[in-house]
Subunit: 430 residues, 2 copies
Amino acid sequence: MDASHSSLPHVVVIGGGFAGLWCTRALAREAVRITLIDRTNHHLFQPLLYQVATAGLSSPDIAAPLRHILRRQRNVEVRLGEVVGIDSVRRSVQLADGTSVAYDYLLVASGATHSYFGRDEWARVAPGLKTLDDALAIRRRVLTAFERAESASSEDERDAWLSFVIVGGGPTGVELAGTLAEIARHTLKREFRHIDPARAAVRLIEAGPRVLASFPESLSEKARAQLASLGVTVLTGAPVKAIDADGVEVGETRIASKTVLWAAGVAASALGAELARAFSVETDRAGRVKVKPDLSVDVESRVYVAGDLAHIADGDRMVPGVAPAAKQMGAHVANAIRASLRSARPQPFQYRDFGNLATIGRLAAIVDLRGLKFSGPLAWAFWLLAHVFFLIGFRNRLVVMLNWAWSYWTYQRSARIILGENSPPAARDS
Amino acid sequence: MDASHSSLPHVVVIGGGFAGLWCTRALAREAVRITLIDRTNHHLFQPLLYQVATAGLSSPDIAAPLRHILRRQRNVEVRLGEVVGIDSVRRSVQLADGTSVAYDYLLVASGATHSYFGRDEWARVAPGLKTLDDALAIRRRVLTAFERAESASSEDERDAWLSFVIVGGGPTGVELAGTLAEIARHTLKREFRHIDPARAAVRLIEAGPRVLASFPESLSEKARAQLASLGVTVLTGAPVKAIDADGVEVGETRIASKTVLWAAGVAASALGAELARAFSVETDRAGRVKVKPDLSVDVESRVYVAGDLAHIADGDRMVPGVAPAAKQMGAHVANAIRASLRSARPQPFQYRDFGNLATIGRLAAIVDLRGLKFSGPLAWAFWLLAHVFFLIGFRNRLVVMLNWAWSYWTYQRSARIILGENSPPAARDS
């Protein structure tokens, strides 16, 4: 089969996210063989992951098997595995199963995970949202909290189960808070007998001075107002000091809560440190690799970094960790490899910023298209169309549209199924 | 709220399956208060569970939150909990969380689980299919097996990963075997580079003389032929002697296989033994409770059993453990409770047998409508319509129909997402 023509240059891509997948696809007609390695069997449409966490969509709606996406691209081999080391001398990557894979070109696009700023013990009590497994764990916690509130034996216990705290006022935190408020106020209406879910307290806590800080101040203000009208209490300038199973400490205040979700910190994949070790490149505070203008770790190495793992300047700020940037970087690395194969000079990466969107909840979003700013229902419709349009695969788009049309009219959420409740404790808390 | 009018007679229903839910709904206009207790938050449409296991449907397609189904029935309170004991003197049930719930009327409809005939160590290597968590575990195993085959380092290893054994030739075993063969031959086509998934061996092993033994012999023969044409090797008269992580022993033969699925034995819920202890009723070999003709454990107790947990005769055979029988029993118990409230005599339960269907795979099924027998594409269409029609909730029906239409034309299966692969080993094997 094509992919095993071992005389062709071997491109190894680590990570099947936006950067890795876009690079792989862009090399479809090149005389190379590609091995795409991922820890999971699927490409994940991360921008809609919060919808899985909040029971609006099912896992398969926003994920597709990498093998299936790439089945017709005969120069690619997909491999399920976890890369644990990179050997710059032998030019190979080591997998957790003990095997190694030699490369001529290497793209490391293993993305980011959440960071607890050195307080890793918070992970158990305040789960973050990066993978489908994370999303299902959050869904389980949120739905179970209402069940526990219903059967609580005291007022205090009930209130603690009806108290939700989201730490971090970035896009994920805002989406989670807005959607949770909608679930409490509308979705669960009439379903309980001892509690009124609409009385649930949803608090969004941000250490900095405003939510959605990557947007202009005026849009942050709009977002805050929209969150308030959905029923979310927004606390800014409020750094979290402690989190335990019964609540959070914010400044001098303690908030009782049985359900704390973490949307605050991002840390680059551990392969950033591995690249720093192997190629003597620098990393930034979040562990991202400071790449050369062509996205390589050094111009001779033929080793590249793209997506959330890459640190690269865009004028006086950094290229943001968003899907369009990752796709552009992936495509750029494909071009750099193509140039190298033809002994041409690599071009520097140029980020094309098409704008910035964030959704908040039903009919609530903000949009900043390079100066054209708007918010509210129109922004929400714009966000919806943009996201459904970019979903991979026609079937997914159709199902997601149908799901949303249904949810919109009925306020219902189709995926309100608690899974894993009979699993051992280790699984329940994973 | 209505459900807390404590002066009304209290009906406690254990289990939100077909029997429990149908009884609960039938009492909607009765002057009672009902507490429905279930270990999970959802009603599960069990006849399509194999589709979740084989990645054709998502969990929410075949499950709906009990609270949501019953939100408008104000005399019901839904409680998430596990019943661990029944006290016939105090007339109360004990929950795992230490609380207890008193009843005036009790319906125990906690169903069945799989039985390994005393070989519980087989559970780890040969998972069964009763819950959504089971289905996701089987899906993970099956999809992972093809991944492992692709990266196998020897022929023997590859063949063992491409060898699937299903133990038990009842409806679940036949559905799993037929669908697995379809996945191997069609769904995964072109997606791998080192293996040909179509060469996977799918074996269905049945200890008795024929598959689908609850059907007439001629239809069993048709089913066997349809399985063979889908690519399944059927072994009958083949009792399993041993199962381990590397294969099964059948008679004198050893079959190497990394993926063994269990569809052989059914055991009643542990509450059967609890009822036997508390009310001195008999249970059969599978642990089902031998109930009185009105489905009570004794006519005075006002304690009833329905669904897969009940053992009751239908002429010279037993009422089968199928969804229509469970619904009928649930509705009958509602009538018995209504009669008791009016001090009327209870009627004996009469099973109305509308026929028996089993699906085998694409365009393959058998139907036995009280003598009118047919098989093949027509039987498959009949099965499809009957199952989609009985799915709870309009949205589910629509999504499932769309999913199936899509799968039918493309051979694709939408839910091919391996979840939980980064969970701790305990979770992976749960």
